[in-house]
């Protein structure tokens, strides 16, 4: 660490349809430091890292490397300049050997262009040794390795390219504690050798454990850079949230006297994803699930709906034990599910709005075995009107609608199916503000009608605004239950990041 800047960001901006992911972000990274970048989901961390790695092009601004402006037009160029990224989703080639993966794209070859096996093995071995990983079987296929081993391999690959700047995007998301410790040891080794490390994480302990300086981003904007010695966790959390948000208006208070439980979940568990989950959902209630990405919320609710597996636990619907092995069972029991990834899991892009609406409740619309087209159309029109879906006609292919309107169509499925319990996973992600407000209003309206709603959101403000109660998950367990009337955004974020000191047991569902 000689104190000069290896990387400088000058007014970097990047927009996607509907979001300004980065807004004139400027800061500098010193040579040889471990520089952590933190922020809430959607703060722009990953976008920024992808720009440095050459995967995205900024709309504006400059990147200076060693004081000179550079254009990182693709990942290859970035690698050539010594910038390598270990992505959140590992991209090794499972059918190839360890050695082949490390030297992929730079295989040593002889004058005829044939790969030189011996030199390949030797160089791969040296690279691993520099990470302190002797004794790895270089010929082994990557698909047999654990996630942690694969991650090491990905780091080795970065080193083989002689990188000076190593970007790690949420490296510990899928590691066990022991593997984390091993990873940090290696990172410290690299640090001592003078490699500059950019480290993205949600987890405060890690950030404070490993980094020299911490940069906070919020809503795509640069908030500040703090040396670790001068920073406190509270301060960083406050920077992440922004001081103005301290007292967010609570739209719905805990006005519900406790009504009967419509969904009772007991001791649900799935190895490696969530464990000992118990909670009740009451009639007319909106129950929020807060937590960081990877806390297990999507896996938990998907398993309640029968879309994802679970190992243990029972679910009761309206007091009756429910055996749900397939979404069809859940739908029959009166559940509805709006998945997180609308494009991949929600819509049928090439099919019409009407077909997209009625698919889960065709049985209700059939006479004998034939779909009653008039009933289908009536039902489709009614739902489109109620949800104010904006489409030229019900025959329009849904892919042509805006994200907000697509989401309304997916919601309308479950109104049509007559579901009493709705599970909504990030229902307002990636949709415009007007549609978002409409969906919020609709959720409240449905609850007032006596439907019960579970909602995941990464926007804590959103949960505080519309939920009655909020369960906070961390590392696959419910760490706390808070009332949206009394909790603050800061409380919830702190629980999601550190858990509650007092107890790591699931919250008692009977209040």
């Amino acid at each position: 660490m000689d104190g000069t800047n290896i990387l400088e960001f000058v007014e970097i901006s990047k927009g996607f349809p509907g979001v300004q992911a980065l807004d004139r972000v400027s800061f500098a990274v010193r040579r040889g430091e471990v520089h952590a970048i933190v922020g809430e989901n959607g703060a722009g961390k990953s976008t920024l890292m992808k720009i440095i790695a050459g995967l995205y092009q900024p709309d504006g601004g400059e990147i200076h490397l060693d004081g000179k402006p550079v254009v990182l037009k693709d990942a290859h160029r970035a690698l050539g300049l010594g910038i390598a990224m270990v992505p959140q989703e590992l991209n090794l080639i499972p059918e190839m050997s360890v050695a082949e993966n490390i030297l992929l794209g730079m295989e040593p070859h002889n004058s005829l262009g044939v790969v030189d096996r011996n030199r390949q093995l030797q160089r791969a071995g040296e690279t691993l040794a520099s990470l302190g990983l002797e004794g790895v079987n270089l010929g082994q296929r990557v698909k047999g390795l654990s996630v942690a081993q694969q991650q090491m391999l990905q780091i080795a690959r970065a080193l083989a390219f002689q990188c000076n700047v190593l970007i790690m995007d949420e490296p510990t998301a899928s590691l066990s504690e022991r593997e984390q410790i091993a990873l940090f040891e290696r990172l410290r080794m690299l640090h001592e050798k003078g490699t500059t490390i950019l480290y993205i994480s949600h987890r405060m302990e890690e950030v404070f454990d490993i980094s020299d300086r911490i940069t906070v981003l919020r809503d795509g904007k640069f908030v500040g850079t703090l040396p670790r010695e001068e920073a406190t966790q509270d301060e960083v959390v406050r920077m992440m949230i922004g001081s103005t948000m301290a007292d967010y208006l609570h739209g719905r208070s805990a006005r519900l006297e406790m009504r009967r439980a419509v969904l009772e979940v007991r001791d649900l568990g799935r190895q490696g994803h969530f464990h000992e989950i118990s909670f009740d959902l009451h009639q007319g209630e909106i129950l929020g699930f807060a937590g960081l990405v990877g806390a297990g919320r999507t896996e938990l609710l998907g398993s309640i709906f029968g879309a994802l597996p679970r190992d243990t636990g029972d679910v009761r619907v309206n007091g009756q034990p429910a055996t749900i092995h397939h979404p069809a069972d859940a739908i029959k029991a009166g559940l509805g599910y709006v998945p997180e990834e609308r494009k991949r899991l929600g819509i049928f892009p090439e099919l019409s709005v009407l077909t997209n609406t009625t698919i889960p409740f065709l049985r209700k619309l059939q006479r004998m075995t034939v779909i009653d087209r008039r009933a289908e159309r009536q039902s489709g029109e009614q739902l489109a009107r109620r949800l104010r879906v904006q489409t030229p006609s019900l025959e329009q292919r849904i892919v042509k609608l805006s994200g907000g309107n697509q989401q309304k169509v997916i919601l309308s499925r479950w109104l049509g199916s007559g579901a009493d319990i709705l599970i909504l996973d990030e229902p307002t992600r990636g949709i415009d503000i007007n549609a978002k407000a409409e969906i919020h209003a609709l959720i409240a309206e449905l609850a007032d009608e006596g439907k019960s709603i579970i909602m995941i959101s990464s926007e804590i403000q959103e949960l505080l605004a519309i939920c009655d109660r909020i369960l906070v998950m961390r590392n696959g367990a419910i760490v706390s239950e808070v009332s949206s009337a009394t909790a603050t955004q800061e409380d919830i974020l702190r629980l999601a990041m550190f858990g509650s000191e007092a107890t790591l047991q699931p919250a008692n569902p009977k209040i």
């Binding site: 859940a330 991949r344 899991l345 049928f348 889960p360 075995t369 779909i371 489109a384 489409t391 006609s393």
Partner: protein, 356 residues
């Protein structure tokens, strides 16, 4: 249109060149059919003679019936390579039951079933073979291409094993055994040949099933987005199993028709028919990735292939050149398909931008 939604979008102002292009592209199979018919009518004077049309329609029926089953499979995003072999197997099962009967050596008797029963048995057996492909695909997550490629070999091998590779000739049955009448299926007619009625009947039923029943919807849904279908409560595995059974069923019927027309069951019957069936489906505008297409399109596609083939024969083009021309037509059809898809994307993007 305006009552469908609370907020009607602006009305399209006038017909533009892109609209015309779109219409031409969408109706391309039908246009191709008209083109082929017009060209051959000019070159071969008796091309549109009634007798000739019926012969061509009989040829078309074979591909069309197979294409109907194949359409369901391809709509789910799968493929069935085994249909040709299943045609052969169906023919051989019927041939065996007519000429040899069911031998029960322990009892020292031979049962000669009635012709209707024979056809029923062949259809059930071959439909189940299709079900086996479907089971392997859904239960063991084997790619449809592989599972049905395996079935292609297995079923053909079984067809050969039934009579050691020999043909069952002269499938007329014997009056004293009460199993006569099988050739009637291929030769008989009511105004036109029965096989043409079967094609029409299957096409109407299939189009109805595809458009108007929950099952049909689910087939499209699976091809459109399998994960989303699952989350909407569609029993994806069950539906997929059924489509391979439908394809097996259609193959069985075709096997019976051919054996009946020839009054003989040859174990090589139906070789390469799967390729004609796939070609008919693709020409008819059904996307090989699933979710988009129609039974009507497949029928037109089958007509294009059949008319093209017979027309080339009548004009006297060598059979070698026929193959080259057929191949080019199929590839051209898919290229046009891609152009259409790209155009639709462009139009969609434009509309989005116009809306803001």
């Amino acid at each position: 249109m305006s009552e469908t939604t609370a907020v009607p979008a602006k009305k399209p102002n006038s017909i533009t060149w892109t609209d015309v292009q779109q219409l031409l592209l969408r109706g391309r199979a039908f246009i191709a059919l008209i083109l082929v018919v017009v060209v051959f009518t000019i070159i071969a004077p008796n091309f549109l003679a009634a007798a000739n049309i019926e012969i061509m329609a009989k040829h078309v029926a074979i591909n069309a019936i197979l294409g109907i089953g194949m359409t369901f499979v391809i709509l789910t995003g799968g493929i069935d390579l085994s249909v040709g072999s299943l045609v052969g197997l169906s023919a051989m099962i019927a041939g065996m039951l007519i000429n040899q009967g069911i031998v029960l050596p322990q009892l020292g008797i031979i049962i000669y079933p009635h012709t209707w029963l024979i056809m029923f048995v062949a259809i059930v057996a071959v439909t189940l073979m299709g079900g086996i492909s479907g089971f392997i695909i859904t239960r063991f997550n084997v790619a449809p291409f592989i599972a049905t490629l395996g079935m292609l070999y297995v079923a053909r091998g079984m067809a050969l094993l039934i009579n050691n590779g020999y043909t069952f000739p002269n499938l007329v049955g014997r009056p004293e055994l009460g199993n006569t009448g099988f050739p009637e299926l291929g030769a008989g007619s009511f105004i036109v040949n029965y096989s043409i009625w079967i094609m029409i009947g299957f096409a109407l039923v299939a189009a109805f099933v595809a458009q108007r029943t929950p099952f049909g919807r689910q087939v499209y849904a699976i091809g459109g987005n399998e994960r989303a279908s699952e989350l909407s409560g569609v029993k994806v595995k069950r539906v997929k199993l059924l489509v391979y059974m439908i394809s097996g069923f259609c193959s069985a019927v075709v096997g019976l028709i051919i054996a009946s027309q020839l009054v003989a069951a040859h174990p090589a019957t139906g070789q390469f028919f799967e390729l004609n069936a796939i070609a008919a489906v693709v020409l008819g505008g059904t996307s090989l990735s699933g979710g988009r297409g129609s039974i009507g399109g497949t029928i037109i596609g089958a007509f294009v292939i059949g008319v093209l083939g017979d027309g080339l024969v009548m004009v006297g083009v060598s059979s070698f050149w026929q193959q080259v021309i057929k191949g080019l037509v199929i590839v051209l059809a898919v290229i046009i398909d891609q152009i259409q898809a790209r155009m639709q994307m462009r139009i969609a993007l434009q509309k989005q931008q116009e809306l803001g």
